[in-house]
């Protein structure tokens, strides 16, 4: 499996490198053409093989059929002649033979005259019959053209029949040979026997070889294939080319081909372009040979191949054009989308034009939605940044309240008047540290240590101002001190705890406790500013909390809202500020912050 995958990957890489398939369009086109062409080529190759076999089989079976038909036609013709030859024992025939052998010229004249008439009538039965004759053992022949003398020693038909026994009543065939008028004929004959089975002569029919032309001449095996006939000495007795008639078959097809032509239906392929089938016409021991041209088969196959290749190449061309068209159809929206995205990377106000309702259309729409969302978010972000800056400025402004500064300066003056120099130094140091941390060199995030220090300085200054009316404590887990928080979030809460909590107590004993701890499961840092002051009406507390939940809804409770707003802007709505009553009186302000690791 791994090997297969490796091979496939290799092939894929080579394909990609060879055809430089960098674009989706070329991949699509190549895949489309490949997928459509490969089945076509396989089909063409398979069809070629099958068609070739079928064609060859058809040629052979057609040739065999044709040879059979020729064989049948010859047999039918021969059986007709055999029936005619049954007239050989006619009274006039026998009388003629007997009187002729006896040398009775005067007695024979009426039989001769009658025989001429009869034999001519028989000849007129069939157009191919050249002569019908009776030949006696005395060499006298009476036929359609009169009375002639036959050299019996030269007459193969006569000799064949003479050498047979009286019981052998079958026909004999001789020829083709020239008849006495010079025309080529083949002769069919039967023996005539006397009363004591003594051989008296023969009755024979000369058939014009035109018959063979009539039987075989119209037969064509393909365009150039044909039928030819050989006699028992392998001489051509019928061939469409008349010049070859009478010649040996060896001259035409090679001597070597003659040896095993004794069996019926032998297919020979060794003669180059010809497919040859042979059948022996048994009565005459002739061979019927069908020659088909293999070249024609090849030509036929070339035609098929040409047609197949034309179809394949046309199909490939059409498919390629279609592939180009479809690729264009599919990739153009993608290209447009790509360009739109490139524009969008420079100008978010761009929108993709949607032309189709397909996946690419949907993708374009989604991209447009994404762009809209990005624009919205950016706008929101800009607004939030603005809001944050404003909130920060407000927070800073809150820090630098003139009366806080005046009061602190009055405190310092008072301390100077009372020569409490040590306290002055401490107070001035606290004030300086307070403002230094407030500004924090413009940084938004400071360490919790710095935030704690900032609120401690504030409380120091305020306590110096308000005397021992309340006390404070800061309990922040050591592990949190280096974590980061947005600045100036504890001071406004402490200020509220002082002014609306412990300072309102009628008796001393107020306490402001600032706790900082990590809520482990939620991984959230929690600050609590707990006072045991006069507390707050539950309804009011509920209203403040509602204002804090619905961030930015009111301008009341500015200090608390600003802290809450800044936390939410920085870390999200799940963080922020909430108030709760302190058990036993007072208010607890709780801040939740994410854990933000400080650098180093």
């Amino acid at each position: 499996m791994k090997i297969l995958r490796a091979v496939f990957t290799g092939f894929q890489n080579r394909l990609v490198n060879t055809f430089k398939l960098r674009s989706l369009r070329s991949k699509f086109m190549l895949s489309f053409v490949f997928l459509s062409t490969i089945p076509l080529v396989i089909l063409a190759i398979f069809s070629y093989g099958v068609y070739h076999d079928i064609l060859q089989q058809n040629i052979q079976s057609y040739t065999s059929e044709v040879i059979d038909r020729v064989d049948r036609n010859l047999e039918i013709y021969l059986s007709d002649l055999e029936r005619i030859l049954e007239l050989r024992n006619d009274y006039y025939n026998l009388q003629f033979i007997k009187l002729s052998l006896a040398g009775d010229v005067e007695g024979n004249r009426k039989f001769i005259f009658r025989l001429w008439e009869n034999l001519n009538n028989i000849r007129n039965f069939k157009t191919e019959l050249r002569d019908v004759s009776i030949t006696t053992i005395g060499g006298v022949t009476v036929g359609c053209y009169g009375v002639t003398h036959t050299d019996l020693a030269q007459n193969v038909l006569f000799q064949t029949l003479a050498n047979r026994t009286a019981k052998d009543d079958s026909i004999a065939i001789w020829g083709p040979h020239p008849d006495w008028l010079g025309g080529p004929v083949f002769s069919v004959g039967k023996a005539i026997h006397g009363d004591y089975d003594n051989f008296l002569g023969i009755m024979s029919i000369d058939v014009d070889v035109e018959l063979l032309e009539r039987i075989c001449g119209n037969i064509r095996l393909g365009k150039t294939g044909y039928i030819m006939l050989l006699d028992e000495e392998n001489r051509i007795i019928y061939h469409p080319n008349r010049e070859l008639i009478g010649k040996g078959i060896g001259a035409l097809l090679g001597e070597a081909s003659l040896t095993d032509w004794q069996q019926d239906f032998t297919t020979k392929r060794r003669l180059g372009n010809q497919i040859i089938r042979v059948k022996t016409f048994a009565p005459a021991n002739w061979k019927i040979i069908g020659l088909s041209n293999r070249f024609e088969l090849a030509t036929e196959m070339q035609k098929i191949t040409g047609l197949s290749l034309t179809i394949i190449f046309s199909t490939i061309l059409v498919l390629t054009l279609m592939a180009v068209y479809f690729a264009h159809l599919l990739t153009n929206p993608l290209k447009e989308l790509q360009q739109s995205m490139r524009h969008a990377s420079e100008d978010l106000n761009t929108n993709v034009e949607i032309h189709t309702m397909d996946e690419i259309g949907e993708l374009s729409e989604t991209f447009n939605q994404m762009l809209a969302r990005i624009r919205q978010l950016m706008k929101q972000s800009v607004q939030e940044q603005e809001k944050r800056r404003r909130a920060e400025m407000k927070a800073l402004q809150e820090q630098i309240k003139p009366h806080f500064i005046y009061n602190t300066l009055d405190l310092i003056i008072g301390l100077l008047e009372t020569n409490k120099n040590e306290d002055v130094i401490n107070t001035v140091e606290a004030l300086g540290a307070f403002f230094r941390i407030s500004l924090s060199q413009g940084q938004e995030l400071i360490t919790i240590r710095e935030e704690a220090e900032h609120v401690r300085n504030y409380l120091y200054i305020q306590r110096r101002r308000h005397g021992d009316k309340y006390d404070y404590a800061i309990e922040i887990e050591e592990r949190l001190l280096n974590k980061k928080t947005i600045k100036l979030i504890l001071q406004p809460l402490v200020e509220n705890a002082i002014y609306h909590g412990v300072r309102e107590l009628e008796t001393p004993g107020g306490l402001i406790l600032i706790k900082g701890f990590l809520m482990e499961p939620a991984n959230t840092i929690c600050f609590q500013v707990i006072d045991n002051g006069v507390g707050m009406e539950p309804a009011k507390m509920e209203e403040i909390n509602r204002c804090l939940r619905e961030s930015g809804t009111g301008q009341q409770y500015f200090g608390l809202s600003n802290v809450n707003e800044r936390i939410r802007l920085a870390f999200g709505p799940e963080y922020g500020l909430a108030l709760s009553p302190t058990p036993g009186g007072g208010v607890t302000a709780t801040i939740k912050l994410p854990v933000v690791e400080g650098k180093g």
């Binding site: 040398g103 010229v105 005067e106 004249r109 009426k110 001769i112 005259f113 009658r114 001429w116 008439e117 001519n120 359609c144 053209y145 009169g146 009375v147 002639t148 003398h149 050299d151 030269q154 020829g175 083709p176 040979h177 020239p178 006495w180 008028l181 010079g182 025309g183 080529p184 070889v209 035109e210 032309e213 006699d231 000495e233 001489r235 007795i237 019928y238 008349r242 010049e243 008639i245 009478g246």
Partner: protein
């Protein structure tokens, strides 16, 4: 004379030796099948040492007039030790006759006698045979201006003249000599020289003696049945005909019962003179189908033709170029006598 005979015999011997299969290029057995369609073929009938072969080619086989000639020709041939072949188209067919003669030339027969059915067509092949060294004669019907050695047969002009004289005699006896008489003629083949000569002789014999109007020339191509039918049909259409001249006796070779209208015409005074004195013609004449007959001697024709052809082949001289076999005149006075001397044909 003795020296001449010795020379002839030596020549014959030399000829036969040269034609032995051993010396003949055509004598090889199975020397091949001829190219189809070609008339010139290498033979499987090679000439070799054999008796002389003489072929007689009548106009047709179906005409029984030649039967007597065939019989005497065969007997003469037998007597002379030569082989006689009797070959012809079954029915008159000059083209086929030419083909048959060409076949004989190819087979190198020693002599040919031809009854010419169409001199124009036959002349060339006669000359061809002569050029091939074959002795050629004509029998019954001559082929003038050909290279044939001799003609043996009737002097057809004389035969026609005799018919004409017989006609004049009968018409005069009936007292019709001064009248214009419508005359029809039945002949065999229009082109046959012998028949045309007979017609010419007939016409010239009656000229100036009778006032004949020749109203029809009917040609039956030597066919007996056709001859009878044509005469019967003509009489049906033209019963007003006065005279009938038959240049051959074809119409009377068959049964006379097939010609009732003609018989009626004869009974009503129609006058007919016919060539041929064969047995059936005599029988018909005796019934009144013809008042006079002029016969040919076909037996002599066969006999003399063979004899002189053999002589010619053997180098002996032929007594004359025109061998007249003579005429036989018949009328009511000798019909019975002649019938008693002749044999019925018994062939049809």
């Amino acid at each position: 004379m003795k020296v001449a005979r010795l020379f002839c015999l030596s020549f014959l011997f030399l000829y036969l030796v040269l034609n032995l299969p051993l010396f003949s290029p055509d004598s090889r057995p199975g020397s091949g099948v001829a190219a189809a369609g070609s008339t010139s073929v290498s033979g499987s009938f090679p000439p070799k040492a054999r008796p002389l072969v003489i072929a007689i080619v009548p106009k047709s086989l179906d005409n029984p007039v030649f039967v007597d000639s065939m019989e005497t020709a065969m007997l003469t041939a037998k007597e002379l030790g030569v082989k006689l072949e009797w070959v012809a188209p079954f029915k008159v067919d000059p083209d086929l006759q030419v083909k048959i003669i060409e076949g004989l030339i190819w087979r190198k027969v020693d002599g040919i006698a031809i009854s010419t059915s169409d001199p124009e067509k036959i002349r060339k092949v006669i000359d061809k045979a002569v050029e091939a060294g074959i002795k050629v004669a004509t029998i019954d019907a001559d082929c003038p201006e050909s290279k044939r050695l001799f003609y043996c047969g009737t002097d057809n002009y004389k035969a026609g003249w005799a018919c004409g004289e017989a006609m004049v005699k009968i018409v005069t006896e009936r007292g019709l000599a001064g009248k214009k008489l419508k005359t029809a003629i039945l002949t065999g083949g229009i082109e046959a020289h012998n028949l045309n000569e007979r017609i010419r002789g007939f016409k010239e014999a009656v000229a100036g003696k009778l006032d004949l109007e020749y109203v029809a020339l009917l040609a039956c191509d030597d066919d007996t049945t056709t001859g009878a039918k044509m005469v019967e049909a003509y009489i049906r259409e033209h019963p007003e005909t006065d005279l009938f001249y038959f240049s051959g006796g074809w119409a009377f070779f068959g049964p006379t019962e097939s010609m009732p209208l003609y018989q009626e015409w004869c009974d009503n005074g129609g006058i007919a003179v016919s060539m041929d004195t064969f047995y059936p013609v005599l029988q018909a004449a005796k019934k009144g189908f013809a008042q006079a007959l002029v016969g040919q001697d076909f037996r002599k024709m066969g006999e003399l033709t063979v004899k002189y052809l053999v002589d010619a082949i053997n180098g002996l001289p032929v007594p004359m170029e025109y061998i007249d076999t003579g005429l036989e005149l018949a009328d009511e006075s000798n019909f019975d006598l002649l019938l008693s001397q002749k044999k019925p044909w018994e062939m049809k």
